[in-house]
Structure formats: C-alpha cells, structure tokens
C-alpha cells in the first residue's frame, strides 16, 4: 500500500502477552519493587487540586519504618488505645479467616475467602471513616464488618446458610449485607459496586447530607467497564466518594499485569479522570488509615473524590476453590517486601511501650476462643446441607415486594414437591 513504508526489513508486529516474573518453583526477587523511605512523601492539603496529587500516584505513602516507628507528615498520630483497638480487629479478622477456612474444609459450608495479608486495607480504612459512611465492599473486606462491630455470629450464620442467616440462605457464603452497619449487599458480579457507591454519594450530596461513600475493588476488577463509569461519574459530579483499589498483585491466577500494571500504577489512573490519587503501602496500617482519613476529609468538605491504590499482597489462595501453587511461586509470600500488616502494627505498639508479646498471645487466644464459641453457637442453627435452613416459601419472597401470581403458583409447587419427598411427615425446618 502506498501509505505504508516500502522494504522487506521492517519488523513484524508482535503481540505482547504479559507474564508474571515468577512461576511455581522460581526463586523470587522483589528488589525492583520501589519500597520508599517511610515518612518521605509529602502530604498535600486535603482540598488541593487533583493534579497536585500526581507525585503521590507513583510514589508509595509509608509511615511505619523498619525501626517500627511512625515517620513523616502522613503519621496519623493515633493514640495507643486506638492502635490497640485496630490490632484487636486485625487479630479477630485473622482468627475468623483461619476458622472459617477450616470450616469449609470440614464440609460445614461450601465456600470461603480469606483476606490474609490485606487486613489493613479494610480494618484501618474503615476506622478512618465515620460509622455511618456507606461502604460498598467487594468480597474481601470482612475486616470492615469486624471493625464496625458486626457480630461474628451473624457472619457465621450467613456462611453456614442456616436458619438464622439474615440473608435466608440465598447468598453464597461471605456475600454479607448489613444495612445497620452501612455495609452494602455484596454481589458476585465484579466492580458493579463502584458506580453504585458513586450514585449513593451523589444521593447524599443531592440531599445535602454529610455522609460519604467508600468502595473497594480489586486491581483485577478495575478492568471492568463499571470502574471506568464510576471514575467518570465521580469526577463529573464531584461525588463525595472514595474509590479504594486493593492491588494485591493477583486476580485468581492472573497477575496484575493483566489489569495494566506493567506500565503504570492504579493510582495514576486517577489523574486521567481528574480524581485525586494516592498510592499507599497497603500493609502499613498507619499509612492506610492516614490516606483514607485524608480522602474522607476531602470528600466531606466537597473538595472531591479520591482514588487510593492500596499496594499489598494476597498472601493466600484466591478462595477455598483455588490452589495458588499452580500459578505462582510459594516464595512470593515470604519475600513480599512490605511484610505483614498485623506484625507491623504489633511491633509498632511494642516499640511505643504500649504492648508486649504476652498481651499479643492473650489477644490471639481470646480471638480464637471468641470465634470458636461463635462457631459452636452458629452450628446450633445448622450448617450447610444439614436440614436447618429457612422454610421453603422464603425462596419466593423478596423477589418483588409482593408475591405475584406466578411466584405463588411456583411456591405451591415447591411445597408440594417437599410433601411428596417426605410422605411420613416433614422434617423440622
């Protein structure tokens, strides 16, 4: 063609298919991850122009150093009581995850997802919000519920889909919902919650309310069109919303490169939309708290929305249905340069003289005990597949506000089938 350069020595076009650096069995070297000096990042005014956050979109906001001390302008200067409360939520979240994972392996439920290594991104973030700010989580923010004091018994009832499950056994385990705790119903469809959070924030602004919204999405799900819609709507209407991107490096078996991480950061996407952007060490509880509080203050004062990339690592498999040894090196978890959020906070409190190993052991034992007791209590209401569930007719309720004729007919059919199955009389349900 005339519009194409002549010659035979032109390179062939080639398709780039991203590949993670390490596969199973590989030796891991994370030295290329830019681990910044704690305290070295500037903290702009919360009401600054979005473009003023540009340097922070490629940097990494860190507070806690290897010396276990807090450094720099992002130090939220939390009192030791608050830090101990945070540590308590961390310990309970991890104990809960351990026990529920085991419960799935024992056949008490069908499914579970841990948040190991990412506890700070939910617990510390939630603590930086007001208790009635609305959160639109994905499925790995159980720490938000725990930080807000939602009873773990109710969480287990939901996981077991038993007769006390507030969601009436309709939802897959961990898809919690709590209007009382301003925790939006979790959906299996990824990133759908992001434009919903923006819409909620718009509604709050329309009504002249003072509440803000925050949403969480994994880095993999930022590739969904919904996330683009959310960022666009957030900026167009200056919605009081925080978009938390949990970059835990992995979307099931796909490394973050498949969401675009090879050439930029997720925080940097904020700038293209005109959102403020912060990139934060997601395993540094103080940095997470400080960034979330900054964004919350910004939103609450009508200064605009913020996108926060929490740079962290998914320490465990994606879910109970996943085996990460099939796609990544087992060394990754050990070598992760930003450590473990719980250990880092614990060591910080010890360095402050506000904590010690003995108290940590007691805390961990107490949490395990609390979870164990709640588990036993929940089991009285039934475990999955063992009879104690909500009555059959509830399957047809809440599809609509009222039961239309076709659902009435189908409900009668279901009850008829049940009577046919148990001619000797219905088991307790």
């Amino acid at each position: 063609m005339a519009d194409r350069p002549e010659g035979h020595n032109k390179p062939k076009l080639s398709l780039h298919v991203p590949e993670p650096k390490f596969r199973p069995g590989d030796t891991v070297d994370f030295s290329d991850i830019g681990v910044t000096e704690p305290g070295g990042q500037p903290r702009p005014d919360e009401a600054c122009a979005a473009q003023d956050t540009a340097p922070l979109c490629h940097d990494l906001i860190r507070v806690l150093g290897d010396d276990d001390e807090a450094h720099g302008p992002w130090d939220p200067k939390l009192d030791s009581e608050t830090l101990r409360t945070m540590l308590g939520h961390f310990a309970l979240t991890r104990a809960f995850d351990e026990r529920m994972f085991r419960g799935q392996r024992q056949g008490k439920t069908s499914f579970y997802m841990k948040c190991t290594g990412e506890e700070a991104t939910s617990v510390a973030a939630a603590m930086a919000l007001a208790s009635d700010d609305m959160v639109f989580p994905s499925y790995r923010q159980q720490g938000v519920l725990i930080a807000r004091g939602y009873p773990i018994l109710e969480m287990i009832n939901q996981i077991y889909s038993n007769k006390a499950d507030k969601l009436k056994g309709r939802q897959l385990p961990i898809m919690y919902s709590s209007r009382e705790k301003s925790f939006f119903s979790i959906s299996g469809n990824l990133a759908t919650q992001t434009p919903q959070a923006v819409g909620w924030a718009m509604a709050s602004a329309i009504k002249g309310d003072s509440r803000i919204a925050a949403t969480w999405v994994g880095e993999g799900s930022t590739a969904e069109g919904d996330f683009h819609s959310a960022c666009t709507f957030a900026t167009v209407y200056n919605a009081p919303v925080i978009l938390n991107v949990i970059n835990n490096q992995w979307a099931i078996s796909s490394f973050s490169g498949f969401a675009g991480a090879e050439r930029t950061t997720f925080a940097a996407r904020a700038l293209g939309y005109g959102l403020a952007g912060l990139r934060v060490d997601g395993n540094d509880p103080l940095a997470v708290f400080a960034a979330e509080r900054w964004a919350a203050n910004r939103a609450r004062s009508n200064a605009g929305p913020t996108l926060i990339e929490h740079f962290t690592y998914r320490a465990e498999g994606h879910s109970t249905s996943d085996d990460p040894s099939g796609y990544r090196s087992a060394q990754e978890r050990e070598e992760w340069p930003l450590g473990d959020p719980i250990m880092r906070l614990k060591k910080h409190l010890i360095a402050l003289g506000e904590w010690d190993e003995e108290r940590q052991e007691t805390l961990d034992a107490d949490c395990m005990d609390r979870v164990k007791k709640a588990t036993k209590e929940a089991e009285k209401n039934g475990i999955l597949g063992h009879g104690l569930h909500h009555p059959f007719r509830t399957m047809f309720e809440d599809v609509y506000e009222d039961l239309p004729w076709h659902l009435k007919e189908q409900a009668e059919q279901a009850i008829h089938e049940r009577k046919t199955k148990f001619p000797e009389g219905l088991p307790e349900a």
């Binding site: 609305m134 639109f136 507030k166 969601l167 009436k168 309709r170 939802q171 898809m175 919902s177 709590s178 209007r179 939006f184 119903s185 959906s187 299996g188 469809n189 759908t192 992001t194 434009p195 919903q196 959070a197 923006v198 819409g199 909620w200 924030a201 718009m202 509604a203 709050s204 602004a205 329309i206 009504k207 919204a213 069109g225 919904d226 683009h228 819609s229 959310a230 666009t232 709507f233 167009v236 809440d398 599809v399 609509y400 506000e401 239309p404 004729w405 076709h406």
Partner: protein
C-alpha cells in the same frame, strides 16, 4: 370499552377533575412533573434529559422547574446511569433514569440483571432498587438497526424486574406514576412510534394525531393505573388478540378494516402479567393471536403462547397464532417488509378463523 374499565379502578380520577388532550410525550412529561413535585426523592437523569429536555422532549422544562440536582444530564454511559441509580435507590431516593433508546440499554444490562433486579432478594430486603428505567423502544420510524429494537423479552426473563409498556397517553401517565411509586425496579418502554399519534399499521395513509383519539384525554392531576392490570381495548367474540405498545393500535386497525369482532387486550404490564383477563377472554373466544414487534424466537409471545396453551387448552379451537418481527436485525430500507403489519396480521386472522 376501556373507559368503563378504567373508571372502576380505585385510583381513577375523581369526577369534575379537569382533563386535557395530550400526546404521549406530554403525558409522560406530566407524570414526571407531578412525581417530581409530590416526592422530593424522585430524581430524573439521563443523556440530554436536563437543560435540553430530552431528544424526544419527554423531560422538557423539568430542570428549569425543579433544579439541576433533581433533573440532570449524565455522561454517555448506560452502565454508569443504571449503576448510579442503584446506589441512589440504596440511599433512599427514587431515581427515574432514562436510556435514550432501548437499543442502547445493553451496556447497563449487568447493572439491571445482576444488581437492580436481585438487590431486594440477595439482601433479604435490606436494600431495594425502587427505580424506573424509561426508554423509547420499538420500530416503525425508519430507525434502522439501533433505533427500532424491542428487547422486552430480555427483561421479562429476569426475575425481580417488572416490565411496563403503555399504548396511550392516558395509560402512559397513569402507568408511569405507578411505576415510579413502585418499590421494585421497573423497565418502562415507551413506543416511540406512537409518541405523537396512534399508528394503525397502514403506513401509506396520513398519521392521525393523538387529539382525535379518546385515550388522549388525560386528567390534570395525579392518578395511577396499577401495574399488572391489562386493558381491554375492544370487546369481541371472534378471537382474542394479545398485544402491547404500538401493536395494540395496529391490531385494532386491521380488525377494523377486515370487520373482525376480535377482543383486543393491551397487556400494559408484561411482568407481572394479568393472566386472569387473558384466560377469561380466551375461554370466551376460543382463539388467540399474539402480536409483537420483537423478533419471534424466544420473544415474549412464546411465553404468552405457552401460558395460554397450559391454561386454556380445552377451550382452544385453533392453534395459537404468533405475529411478530422476523428473526433478523431490524432493517432500514425494508422496514415495512419487516414490521408485523396489516398483511401479516390479516393472514393470521384468516388462518385462525378458518380452523
């Protein structure tokens, strides 16, 4: 006739209320204005609905009257529009988003199917999506592939959604008010072919404006037509015609031309369906013709046909006839060859009566 049926409804306008002649656009505008006025939680939003008043003028003047935070323009993102509306509903608002053409609702489908429709169920009624998605739909306007579609069966197949399609200005206002007040998500499809006047399918004749049609007489104030109630367009004995939207008028026109004493039922709401009115009519007439613009295979006509067969089998004197659009994308130049018009409907009538 339909007048008497509507007058018996509890929510019908009281005696002495002023009535005006409105076309369907004006009736929709009136319904939105009344609801924006009555309920501070009602929000109208969509592409070009604000300052400009909508590409079909359905929202004309509303932003000026109610302000920019009640009636506003949105980015061109159907996913964002529906998604934001779900969030607003969760907050406690009653959003009425507009999708400019039903043909463009697909980018918002995940938000509608996975979110709006399921929210009440999956949260055990902790959160609801009391939204009404308005969207112009249907063909007959040389709209080609992407301004003519009738995607109603994609929505009737989704549990948790209600689907409403008016066919007259009177119904458009009353049904839209009921949809906005409904606590379930409603897909409200407006047949754009009959925005300005009823269309009887005889495209080579002059179009009549709404003002000559009895159903253009619309009460001034608030009234609602309950969802789930069909309207008997005309009573008859020879056969039952099940239709909605534009096709009510086309079926009526063809029956008038051919002198057929058909009972024509305007379904008005597809889900929940008024099965009692349908059953009673077919048990009386023994014959059933279903007419819709949408493509045939897995269209809503298939559901109607199955329901009639299951519930009226021993009363049927002939196989059920389905008159629909062909199973092709909606063509531009061959519009009138595609559209289920007088010839296709006429032949189906002949076939039904000959058995």
């Amino acid at each position: 006739m339909s007048e008497s049926i509507e007058k018996t409804q509890a929510s019908a306008p009281g005696e002495g209320e002023t009535e005006r002649r409105l076309n369907m656009i004006e009736a929709i505008n009136d319904a939105l204005s009344i609801m924006l006025d009555r309920d501070p939680d009602v929000i109208v939003m969509g592409e070009d609905v604000g300052y400009f008043g909508g590409v079909f003028r359905c929202t004309a003047g509303l932003q000026e009257k109610f302000g920019k935070t009640r009636v506003f323009d949105t980015p061109i993102s159907e996913c964002g529009i529906i998604g934001a509306a779900v969030g607003m509903g969760a907050y406690g608002l009653r959003p009425v988003p507009e999708i400019q053409f039903a043909d463009y609702i697909y980018p918002g489908l995940d938000q509608l199917i996975s979110e709006a429709a399921r929210l009440r169920y999956r949260s055990a009624a902790e959160f609801i999506a009391p939204m009404t998605v308005r969207s112009p739909f249907g063909g007959g306007i040389f709209g080609g592939q992407t301004h003519s579609q009738s995607p109603e069966s994609l929505f009737t197949h989704v549990s948790g959604l209600k689907t409403v399609i008016p066919s007259t200005p009177y119904d458009a206002k009353g049904l839209l008010i009921a949809a906005i007040e409904d606590n379930d998500p409603v897909i409200f499809f407006e047949p754009k072919r009959i925005y300005n006047g009823p269309f009887d399918g005889f495209y080579d004749r002059p179009v009549q404006p709404w003002k000559k049609h009895p159903q253009s007489l619309v009460p001034e104030g608030y009234y609602r037509i309950p969802l789930g109630q069909a309207r008997i367009v005309r009573e008859g004995e020879a056969m039952t015609v099940l239709a909605y939207g534009t096709m009510c008028h086309v079926a009526e026109g063809v029956c008038r031309e051919k002198g057929i004493d058909a009972e024509i039922i305007d379904l008005r709401t597809l889900v929940p369906l008024d099965i009692e009115t349908i059953e009673a009519s077919i048990k009386k007439t023994g014959r059933c013709m279903i007419v819709h613009e949408a493509t045939r295979t897995s269209g809503f006509g298939a559901e109607l046909s199955a329901l009639v067969q299951e519930r009226c089998f021993y009363h049927l004197e002939a196989p059920i006839e389905r008159v629909t659009g062909f199973d092709t994308p909606y063509p531009h130049s061959l519009e009138w060859a595609y559209f289920p018009g007088p010839i296709r409907i006429g032949e189906a009538i002949d076939k039904l009566l000959q058995d």
